[in-house]
């Protein structure tokens, strides 16, 4: 969700959206340092602007986050069910390990492996969710920028937005693959 907030801010910082941003800010806008209004307002000590920025972010971010939480919960549930049926979970119980430890240490560590992969895919879900969410909340982000340029058939903008989204998505998947290798000791053998 934090990543997502940054993502919104990134959209805000894109050139060409200045007008919209100006309209959005009724409070005094902090001087632009990073381009992220939340960060800029902290740097400037402008708490009113900070509060306003956060208040505007909180609903869209919540809606988006809620959307992907469902997918992650679901996949974690099914991989947990899968893992809990394995022999090594039985073996841990035989050792006298507490049930809490069995679940959160022995099982979750293994169940996380598929979950991490899904988080990467979910990131794509967040990006596309932003398209809808930003339209609903009139948040001037990349998603809405993409939508409006699609509607007006502004092809350079369409290509730019699509490529940026695809690139971000691919990078997220790369990060996931690296985390995956850390989590799964078998990666060397079964690797891609």
């Amino acid at each position: 969700m934090i990543l997502k907030c940054l993502e919104h801010e990134l959209g805000v910082a894109r050139p060409g959206l200045k007008d919209e941003r100006a309209r959005a800010g009724r409070v005094i806008r902090p001087p632009q340092v990073t381009g992220f209004i939340t960060l800029d307002s902290i740097i400037a000590g402008n708490w009113e602007a900070f509060r306003s920025a956060v208040m505007h972010l909180i609903m869209p971010a919540f809606v988006l986050g809620y959307f992907s939480t469902a997918a992650i919960t679901r996949i974690t549930r099914s991989s947990m069910l899968d893992v809990l049926g394995q022999e090594y979970i039985e073996a841990a119980r035989v050792k006298g390990v507490k049930e809490r430890v069995v679940i959160y240490r022995h099982a979750l560590r293994n169940a996380m492996i598929p979950t991490v992969t899904i988080i990467g895919v979910t990131y794509g879900g967040l990006l596309e969710g932003s398209v809808l969410t930003e339209s609903i909340f009139s948040w001037p982000g990349l998603g809405r920028y993409a939508t409006s340029s699609f509607l007006f058939l502004d092809f350079p903008a369409v290509m730019g937005a699509t490529l940026l989204i695809a690139l971000t998505f691919s990078l997220a998947n790369l990060v996931v693959d690296i985390v995956y290798a850390f989590l799964n000791p078998r990666i060397g053998v079964e690797g891609i």
Partner: protein
Amino acid sequence: MAEQMFDTVSSPILEVRDLFVNFYTYRGVVRALNGVNLTIGRGEIVGLVGETGCGKSVTARSVLRLIRYPGKIEGGQILFEGQDLLALSEREMREFRGRQISMIMQEPKVSLNPAFTIGAQIAESIAIHDYKPLDDAQTEAIEILRTVRIADPEQVAHQYPHELSGGMAQRAMLAMMLAPRPKLLIADEPTSALDVTIQAQILNLMTELVEQIEASILLITHDLGVVAETCDKVAVMYAGNVVEYGTTEEVLTNPAHPYTRGLLRALPNLARQGPLYTIRGSVPDLVDPPAGCRFHPRCEYAMSECAVERPDLLTVKQGHFAACVLYEEGRDGIPDAAHDELPANVWANPDASATVGEQS
């Protein structure tokens, strides 16, 4: 009566009395254990043999109280040093698992957690019961790996289960489960997934280590040869009952229950004359098991009364029991015919053993 069976061992470490376990599945109630009686003395190695689905593993898991939904222990007692495990709370039971009773499983490679190193898993097993920090346990874990004769313990401790061979993984499993020095080790088909040459190594190692810590073993297997080589006593299971119990020598050379006898005769043997003996019919569906003696539909010696009441374990000889009405007072027991066909007797024939002896 089964009571007599418990008297044969002076101070048993484990007594299973009249244990009933059901599984509530969509097909109906699977009556998996139908009054199992079993006793294990201190320092004894008891074999529990039977075919797939006869309830060996269910018995083992009941002892550790690891039967979960849809299974349920419906009755009976499991006395460990006189204490009924079934009466304990889950927290009290945990003190017994690992420290008092431990278990190794059939597939060592899937019984070790793939996400942790071998060292960490053994260390955990030590740390739980000795209340030690994990780091101290790590060095101890390496020592324990050395005792199970792993050539390069420092290296193996840092490896993951998938990097080990089946034999090595079973050694690691033994190390992990014997680290807290339990009083009883349950070995559930410990060598079925391994090669014959590795099987011999593991069985030797297991009996040796257990002797050192003066523990007992409940060895679950379907291989009568393994029983003959390692066990002091043997209990034969059929469809949820222990049908025969006695010293290994008695049971294998002089089987009393018709099922045990059939099983032994069905083994391929050296004599190689004509077709093998087969037990007619097949294993019953435990959703709807036969009434009375569960073996009676397949039994050569079945009588009308066999279909009525489940026979108790009756004394065949001092220390040898069979759950068969043939051994009620006033009856002669199983006819002695076909006794010579038993492979144990074939194997023991002087010519065969002579050649083997000479070679070694």
